[in-house]
């Protein structure tokens, strides 16, 4: 009962407070931090490098760096999520430099077993087409669109991470989506749309 209360208390704490709790050895703090950040980091890494194993490694490395910096983390520093975003971005760039492999070859197999085969193939071909079109966008546009529509990050948060105004982020996303639409329109028949 006591541990449940403590867990509920911890769940309501800010990221900074949780990190401090982790440093002070309060049980459960690292679990909540992991649950808060791991899915986001993994999604960010996966959509950048399109490889599940690499996304796993990068997520683990980024979290390890968080645990290591925790005792020296200062309140005045950037938000933990922003700091982690930069770390993951750098790790992705390093990994891509290392591998230099074709992104599309590395797209993972679908994991939803409930999908029927046709849906699954269609989804995969659409995902591949989108990744391919995303890869052709300028870096900033790609990051903004990916964060907004694949990782589900809000515009103010994207603005903070990319160090831009919200207006600039909206403009980046709009331009990115327009280019994506144009690129994908030209591949309609290949990705399950009928040419009328």
């Amino acid at each position: 009962m006591k541990s449940l209360m403590q867990f509920n208390e911890l769940s309501g704490m800010s990221d900074h407070a949780l990190l401090e709790a982790y440093v002070n050895g309060i049980p459960g703090a690292s679990k909540i931090l992991t649950d808060r950040f791991m899915p986001k980091i993994f999604a960010q890494a996966f959509h950048r490098i399109l490889n599940e194993a690499d996304a796993d490694d990068i997520t683990q490395e980024a979290m390890l760096r968080l645990w290591r910096i925790a005792p020296n983390w200062e309140q005045g520093n950037a938000k933990i999520s922003t700091w982690l975003y930069k770390i993951v971005n750098n790790l992705c760039v390093d990994r891509m430099r290392q591998r230099k492999t074709e992104h599309l070859e590395a797209v993972s197999e679908p994991i939803d077993n409930r999908q029927n085969v046709t849906d699954s193939i269609l989804n995969k071909s659409r995902a591949n087409a989108l990744y391919s079109a995303l890869a052709r966008l300028p870096v900033r546009q790609r990051e903004a669109v990916s964060m907004r529509h694949l990782e589900g990050i809000s515009n103010p948060e994207i603005a903070e991470k990319l160090e831009l105004s919200i207006r600039a982020v909206k403009s980046l996303i709009a331009r990115g989506k327009r280019t994506l639409s144009e690129t994908l329109q030209s591949q309609k028949s290949e990705i399950g749309y009928q040419n009328d």
Partner: protein
Amino acid sequence: MTENKNNRGFELEDFFAATKKNAPVASETLRYKILKTSEQEFHKSNSFILKQSHKSWWNKLFKEFGGFYSVAGYGAVAAVGIFIGFSSPSWSKLILQFEKKSTVVELEFADPFADVTLLYLEE
């Protein structure tokens, strides 16, 4: 109108949805690994803090005085000060004797032409 209808069939959102559906999610194994490293790092940093606190009093003092060279300098000065303070008076006599011995010999140079000028005067 027909184009609009066709475009409505081609929604970018479908692609985003398909991509999200197709993307893997972080596994439980990964979560377990992350939590394990969090424990390891916590113990590492804790043992480091403990070690630091054990040697902290003299370490801090050492740093307060400005490190090794500074402390060595202070030590040397202190040693000389103690020596001067506690040395017997005979030592100071010795020093005085040394000073007397080493008096500077002042040489007076005679003017080699002094007599010559006298000779001219006598003439």
